[in-house]
């Protein structure tokens, strides 16, 4: 029930965004994230954007993991 899917904002009209994942579009309210912009990825749950995905943190996690795996092979 706490599923929240990362979706990309494609349109914003006031507090209402249209967000997309895999070709599926849904409306998402931006009450909690009024600073969100078109192109941002948001986590959408029950019609509300609950968090913005931080692209730097996302990449850092993967980079650290890939690096760690590489060191293991050395």
């Amino acid at each position: 029930m706490c599923l929240a899917i990362p979706m990309r904002i494609v349109e914003i009209d006031g507090f209402l965004a249209v967000a997309e994942v895999d070709g599926v579009r849904r409306e998402a309210r931006l009450d909690l994230l009024p600073e969100a912009a078109v192109g941002d990825y948001i986590l959408v749950h029950a019609g509300l954007a609950i968090a913005t995905v931080d692209p730097e943190a996302a990449e850092e996690t993967l980079t650290v993991l890939r690096q760690l795996s590489y060191d293991e092979v050395q």
Binding site: M1, C2, L3, A4, I5, P6, R8, V21, D22, R29, D31, L32, L33, P34, Y41, L43, H45, A46, G47, L48, I50, A51, V53, D54, P55, A57, A58, E60, T61, L62, L65, R66, L68, S69, E72
Partner: protein, 364 residues
């Protein structure tokens, strides 16, 4: 490609992480995945087989459908018996058995029940059906509460007289405090619910390492996320440390979003709540504030609710499953008298329930 999801399912990373877990495994350790969405992800991706020998995962009380008490389900069903009522609910609640019936069965008998994706859809139903009394079943933890709060504010702004919320929303830190305080649960660390924590912030759980000396990891929902969470817990156990480690940094910011905190405080007020399996936990429920009384089904229909008969005892042992003291497979009803098509209780109904997850993915 589903960005920010599929990269975290990368087979190579998953297997390398799994191998690495074995290198610093402290030996046998039972960890609790608190959240039902974790339970389902663990089962779906077969992650238990990737853990070091002796490291086990048990499910916790983090399936909102599952912890909703029989009394609350009976009470909401009773509201459907009033003439002119339209019940609105998330789909997960449809098949959960009350003492005598379920929303699905009542709908077949003629009660108007609509499944909604968002609480705001329930507000729209009230707008479109002015001759109906629309009552929304507010179920869920902090992840879901902001959406209900936005719906309450929208209804108030429009003065929608025919919309109300039957709130059985619950808050996670209070439940974990009660669960750990009972002393019944023997776990060495907790995977904390990533999406609840986008709202509460990681600091809401600092009491767990401080008071119970247990390691915690705020964890996301893809296979790499979950193994990172396990990795953090095993490292902490090995080092003799206990803290709240956030390994879901792409979604969970520290501190928490102040707007979410303000929104919840504006609409909800803490109240005692009955949890299936855990009993009454002080201040773990979220009632509507006095200012929202016109939209509070518990106030508006108090007379009707007072007539709801006490819940009937059931053979279902979900309570023990939710406390992590009974594995679904060890329940004598599991896969015999209790299956997803004939469920005895919510843990077999909700697709995030521990019993449903084991039935679907781990049944031998």
């Amino acid at each position: 490609m589903m960005k920010y999801s599929e990269e975290y399912r990368d087979q190579e990373l998953v297997h390398k992480l799994s191998r690495r877990l074995r290198e610093f495994s402290p030996g046998p350790a039972t960890l609790m995945e608190v959240c039902g969405t974790h339970t389902m992800a663990v089962a779906r991706f077969g992650l238990k087989s990737l853990l070091p020998p002796g490291v086990k995962l048990v499910s916790g009380p983090g399936c909102p459908v599952c912890v909703t008490s029989q009394e609350d389900i009976d009470a909401f069903l009773a509201l459907g018996g009033m003439p002119g009522t339209l019940l609105a609910t998330f789909g997960d609640m449809m098949r959960v058995p009350g003492s005598l019936t379920s929303l699905e069965k009542e709908r077949a008998q003629g009660t108007e029940v609509r499944v909604v994706y968002s609480p705001l859809d329930a507000v729209a139903l009230a707008r479109e059906n002015p001759d109906r009394e629309v009552i929304f079943f507010g179920v869920g933890f902090e992840t879901t509460m902001p959406a209900t709060a936005v719906a309450a504010k929208a209804a108030a702004a429009e003065n929608l007289a025919n919309f109300s919320i039957f709130s059985v929303h619950k808050t996670m830190p209070a439940a974990l405090r009660a669960l750990l305080g009972s002393g019944e649960v023997k776990v060495a660390g907790l995977l904390l619910p990533g999406h609840v924590t986008t709202i509460t912030g990681p600091a809401a759980y600092n009491f767990i390492p401080q008071e119970f000396h247990l390691p915690c990891a705020v964890t996301g929902f893809e296979p790499v996320d979950i193994l990172l969470g396990v990795s953090s817990l095993l490292k902490q156990i090995t080092a003799g440390e206990a803290l709240v480690d956030n390994v879901y940094t792409r979604a969970v910011q520290t501190p928490a979003n102040p707007r979410a905190q303000a929104l919840l405080a504006e609409v909800f007020v803490p109240e005692d709540a009955v949890w299936r399996g855990l009993g009454v936990i002080p201040d773990s429920g979220a009632g509507l504030r006095e200012e929202y009384a016109p939209f509070d089904a518990k106030r508006r229909f108090a007379d009707r609710l007072a007539e709801t008969p006490p819940a009937k005892p059931t053979a279902c042992r979900c309570g023990e499953v939710l406390r992590g003291t009974l594995a679904p497979r060890d329940c004598s009803q599991f896969d015999r008298t209790c299956t997803p098509s004939q469920p005895l209780g919510p843990c077999m109904v909700s697709h995030e329930g521990a019993c449903a997850a084991v039935y679907k993915y781990e049944r031998r």
